[in-house]
Symmetry: C2
Subunit: 423 residues, 2 copies
Amino acid sequence: MTSDIKQYMEQVGQRARAASRAMARADSATRNRALSLIADAIVRDSALLRAANQQDMDSARAAGLAPAMLDRLALSDKAIDTMVEGLRQIVALADPIGEISGLKFRPSGIQVGQMRVPLGVIGIIYESRPNVTVDAAGLCIKSGNATILRGGSEAIHCNRALAKLVKEGLLGAGLPADAVQVVDTTDRAAVGALITMPQYVDVIVPRGGKGLIARLMEEATVPMIKHLDGICHVYIDAQADLQKAVEIGFNAKCHRYGTCNTMETLLVARAVAPTVLPLLAERYAGQQVELRADAEAQAILAGYPQLAAATEEDWSTEYLAPILAVKVVADMDEAMDHINRYSSKHTEAIVTENYSDAMRFLREVDSASVMVNASTRFADGFEYGLGAEIGISNDKLHARGPVGLEGLTSLKYVVFGHGEVRS
Amino acid sequence: MTSDIKQYMEQVGQRARAASRAMARADSATRNRALSLIADAIVRDSALLRAANQQDMDSARAAGLAPAMLDRLALSDKAIDTMVEGLRQIVALADPIGEISGLKFRPSGIQVGQMRVPLGVIGIIYESRPNVTVDAAGLCIKSGNATILRGGSEAIHCNRALAKLVKEGLLGAGLPADAVQVVDTTDRAAVGALITMPQYVDVIVPRGGKGLIARLMEEATVPMIKHLDGICHVYIDAQADLQKAVEIGFNAKCHRYGTCNTMETLLVARAVAPTVLPLLAERYAGQQVELRADAEAQAILAGYPQLAAATEEDWSTEYLAPILAVKVVADMDEAMDHINRYSSKHTEAIVTENYSDAMRFLREVDSASVMVNASTRFADGFEYGLGAEIGISNDKLHARGPVGLEGLTSLKYVVFGHGEVRS
């Protein structure tokens, strides 16, 4: 059975590689036409899609899936509208492919520049949400890549129905149907095969929880655009504007608890801790946020309803919950030392009115996003103006931070010559 | 013993990581001062360096090293001058670090851009040439990285002497001596440790033969900027200018045989093969180049002194020698099919006067460098104007093609806010 799956995935890979050549050749209008046709087909067949989703929901309920999972699996009318709107927005984005930059004449006479080109074949591995099927297909089509989508087994009926519409759109625009393939098996061996076919797959984008990604990292031989953790910090400087500090400290924790750009540790300069911590505590108390504080912060926060002593483990925990670690630091240097030690290098923010501190923090904190006087919650492809987001990368090589269409491309050198040879 | 080496490398890694923070903070003038001081120290101690190299040469000769290896190990006065000149050129290059690009206001009020920052710690693994020690150290210092250098055991005395001068320059500029560490053991286990310490090393740049790199690829858990093969093609189109075709076809093969950007397979359009192949054969014959041709080319080349039938293996062989595979193709599409199948995606060139063919070739050939009417030998950091080259990458992610200072950096997002929170 497993060897059957391997063979099946090998064929999927070969077809994707072949389709990637046609995608790289296709012009902007053709790729956009495919995206529009897919959007139209989804609108036309929304009742069929809802029925397919209902099948998945029924099986999932029968299998006793947790309510949170069921919620993510559901494809409401609104979710369908959002998918369609997302495709139309991708159509409207500038085509990243083919742009030549930096074209310069060299002393030898050749003219050298860099052309933006698709990566080739992108593998996407994700969990229940069926909308990812369309979002990811859309971004890959726009960026001239072929893609292999491996969704959660619980969403297989809906994903199959979506795949059919995507193929219809591709064929309608004269593109190969294999440019987007949904892996049509729920066997887990398919994932193992997908992440170990570097000959067919150029990059894997896993979208899912830490457990999924950690498992993939152990086995993958294909490079991944991924992030594991979002242990984000806000540092309130001695020269912070207190109102900004309170608003940012509150928003970064309480706007949403389950997102990777949510603050998990608050660092406060000693000089302002006695002033700012009680103001923040008032806000946190209204949301029943549990505070895990170092001794100094504990003393200041005495009487807070949900207060505990922070343990060493707290500094490196991504709570994804209404829990916040709090620490008083001497100054920005101590704050940056703490961040360098415990941060997952996702997003950190400083609140300060001091110019030199702001500039030093931006320069010296080694995270994918570094902010001055803004909530960490802004670390997001849409908020950054990428137009779309395929994921957020914690890696330093290739794409770092929110990854949009450009992250699915690469630059090759192009040389315009006139018969030049090297002497 | 091996556990001692592991412990030693662990310490080297920790020191490099700590030093990388100071390097990331250091301003341009400080990093340039270190480079100038190193250059001065090399000039001052050139006699000592030559003596250390003599020790290495004596041992290598006693150990029966091949003449080609001895040649690469030798540190002549000229090689010392070149090293010093290289450092002075690196000083003159623009500082890649700290540049902020694309800073734009978003509807939310935040201003978002990307700052170029050092990768952190670069591990360089190389074979005999001692000049790599200084070239690589220079590029890493300039780009604000810490580096761990692992040179060939046969060059250990010279590398130690160079490391001393590098440290002197770093300290003289007020930078940590640990910013450049030469691994001070010839034990091979040190390499194994270096490539499996992702917590301390951000990227490995292996410089050496295919054998070295293939070995490293099997074991490495740290990402690598590498290339394995240079199976480069020149395609002479039906509408080629014949004089350009002959000059480029000759230069791409015969300018140097042992380099990765040397042509290994020549593809010729059927329409011009009977004209251009005999002209090229005349030039190749003068250099005793052996030709391995498909049946059609063989017929045209009949009578050439060193002619053999090409086997399937020839199409995927990097000869690094005066040997050339030759194939007649129907047209550019067949040429591109052949290239897509056999190329190592390093460098390919088309010779043509046809505008549409040139544009299609540039767009559709998926290699790190794609050229029109120029010799593949131009695929080189200096020729491309990068100012310096740490290596050439065959990968698509991160750096592709010749890698200069930028390849040793990454972009992080910076956000300038005014108290914004997400709503």
